[in-house]
């Protein structure tokens, strides 16, 4: 038994890792997307355990509410036509797996070696949503504006990239009509 860790943490981390593993191993793409949602929910629960309520709820809103839905829509839009996939894994999957295992071993080694052994279990920080809003509007206002521009540009760009066919067809019909 790992002492010092709560049962809630162990359950949540097991749920998170199980969801990620299912996303890695399942054949059906929709199942992968749904287990990805489980992982996102588990990470949101971990944020809540870290007293980061705002980040946890943002995680639920953004990832479960938007990114997971986007992934499911992309999967539904991109299958049907095309070659059915006989193999879900690439030909060099063994090398990829070895690289991932090596990265995990390195990270886990670094974490267990470098952190101090004393439990730095500080009291929960008194952070309210109001203080986050004040910080966003005062000392972090420049990053906030830049992120606003990045989001606008990225979403407009995504829409433009995702539908070039309609534009080409329209310009062709206009040229055809001019002739």
């Amino acid at each position: 038994m790992i002492h010092g860790l709560s049962v809630a943490f162990l359950l949540t981390s097991a749920l998170t890792v199980a969801g990620a593993l299912a996303a890695a191993l399942l054949k059906n793409l929709v199942h992968c997307a749904l287990s990805l949602t489980v992982t996102f929910a588990g990470l949101a629960l971990l944020y809540l355990q870290l007293d980061a309520q705002f980040a946890g709820l943002s995680q639920i809103l953004v990832y479960i509410g938007a990114v997971a839905i986007l992934v499911v829509f992309a999967i539904l839009l991109t299958r049907g036509a095309g070659i059915p996939e006989y193999r879900g894994f690439s030909s060099s999957w063994l090398a990829g797996l070895a690289i991932a295992a090596a990265v995990f071993a390195l990270l886990a080694w670094a974490v267990t070696k470098s952190l101090p052994a004393a439990a730095a279990s500080a009291a929960a920080p008194a952070v309210t949503v109001q203080s986050i809003g004040v910080a966003l509007m005062s000392s972090y206002v420049l990053p906030l504006e830049i992120v606003a521009v990045v989001l606008t540009v990225a979403l407009i760009g995504a829409v433009i990239v995702a539908m070039p066919e309609a534009r080409v067809a329209k310009s062709e019909t206009e040229q055809g009509g001019a002739k």
């Binding site: 990620a20 793409l29 705002f54 036509a81 070659i83 730095a120 966003l136 990045v150 760009g157 066919e165």
Partner: protein, 103 residues
């Protein structure tokens, strides 16, 4: 094992699984899923260091994580838009078949 180390190990595990997905799967959407998992693991690291680090009232790690969530959402939108555009063009999302992107 301290709580901070436990959270960091979980984040490392999620990162490694995301990296394995991105390196071994053949579907482009699944590779994007792996990238999302890696970004989420980084966010968990940021929040854990914010919680157990010095001066959490300064909100540095929390802000970093929130901005990272916003940028990751933009990245997902652009990446999936690119995959849909490629699929419309070449009728495949298989990465082994994606040998050229020029029309």
């Amino acid at each position: 094992m301290t709580p901070l180390a436990a959270f960091l190990v979980v984040a490392a595990l999620v990162f490694a699984i995301g990296l394995a997905i991105a390196l071994t799967r053949r579907n482009a959407i699944l590779v994007l899923i792996g990238i999302e998992l890696m970004l989420n693991a980084a966010n968990l690291n940021l929040i854990a260091f914010w919680r157990f680090g010095a001066k959490p009232e300064a909100l540095t790690g929390m802000m970093f994580a929130i901005f990272s969530i916003a940028v990751a959402a933009a990245e997902a939108a652009v990446g999936l838009g690119l995959v849909i555009a490629y699929h419309r063009h070449a009728k495949t999302t298989d990465l082994d078949a994606m040998t050229r992107m020029k029309g």
